[in-house]
Symmetry: C2
Subunit: 188 residues, 2 copies
DNA sequence: CCCACTAACGCAAATTATTTGCAATAGCAA
DNA sequence: TTGCTATTGCAAATAATTTGCGTTAGTGGG
């Protein structure tokens, strides 16, 4: 009888984690130098102190590796600031979010994540966004404000802006953002 | 006085166009076979009857070539059907549009276009969409209906659905589409 | 604590993809 | 036509990717 419990699953132990960290870090360092020509798997392996075959076996392609790194970089580094009202919080947050993802490296990160067939990474982007939005919503509710659902905020604020950013490289100005936010608040 | 007219620009003439058509066709044929492993530049060149270096020089990378082919495939092949009212036309059109881009090859096409830093191709996607939407709008106006702006339709109908499709692989059901359309019509 | 097991890695050879120099072809304008 | 050069084919040189094999190092069981 086959003892399935003995199956020795994946191995998140020390060395694997170390290799991953070194490789990710090497990618960031080479990206920081700006020369996209040198962003190759052999170059990354060299800087990370591993052999190229290690990267090929763990990540498969450069695109997948870059996707993983991009998702890490897209993780918000701080909670949305508090400006005293839901409207002000939301406008301030979406402005800084758009500023981040509309920069050249920011746009590239979004596109890099979308480029690869790895649903996990793509979902993570929305998860991060929704977490930030929920933080703003909960703060507003604590103040006694009534706020639209998180999904509504994605549909009517984030989605239109990201859609135009991705497909038209179109940057929203302040009135455009306020229009979207106010439309959301008026009949959310 | 510099005579700029003498500058010998690019050359859209017979042979170039022929090579491009042959290469694009070769990509489609190999894609149709489903084996993504064989979708390489040497394989494409072989089937198209050109040398690999020709593809490398004209397209640079496989991703760019695939992006060009994907945009061609995303071109609508027919005008939106007429169901007698703006609401019905819009629902029917967005349903078939989502059905197309949510299929495995459809999703891959969208992602392939977004993956490459070629604004022209990304804009083309929105241009196609806007053309279809405008056709529906003009037909409705000819009937005497008042219709929302094309931009509003992108913001409140297309963008939310495509956003969730790209980031969450989320397929809308019929009520979800009707809700978006009706919200658009009520206060567009 | 020690041992067996095997996932993950390093190394190097083999394969495959990409780049590049040079010659030939063919679109375009005068 | 004729000259000009963008574009291609060909082949050699370079670089990237795959693969087989031996070794290292987590992990679980005794």
């Amino acid at each position: 009888m086959e003892n399935k419990k003995s199956r020795p699953g994946p191995r998140p132990g020390g060395r694997s984690a170390l290799v991953q960290a070194a490789v990710h870090q090497a990618v960031r360092e080479i990206q920081a130098q700006g020369d996209a020509q040198q962003l190759t798997i052999p170059a990354i392996a060299g800087r990370a102190g591993v052999t190229p075959s290690t990267i090929y076996r763990r990540w498969g392609t450069l695109a997948e590796l870059l996707s993983d790194v991009a998702v890490e970089n897209l993780r918000p580094d701080r909670a949305p600031e508090d400006y005293g009202s839901f409207r002000a919080d939301l406008i301030a947050w979406i402005e800084q979010y758009i500023e981040e993802v509309s920069s050249v490296p920011g746009r590239n990160m979004l596109r890099t994540v979308l480029a690869v067939d790895k649903p996990q990474n793509r979902v993570q982007c929305t998860t991060y966004t929704l977490e930030q939005v929920d933080a703003i919503r909960q703060r507003a509710q604590a103040r006694g404000e009534t706020v639209p659902a998180g999904d509504a905020i994605l549909d009517r604020l984030v989605a239109p802006l990201v859609y135009r950013l991705l497909f038209a490289s179109e940057l929203p100005d302040r009135p455009r953002i306020e229009t979207l936010v106010d439309a959301l608040l008026d009949n959310g």
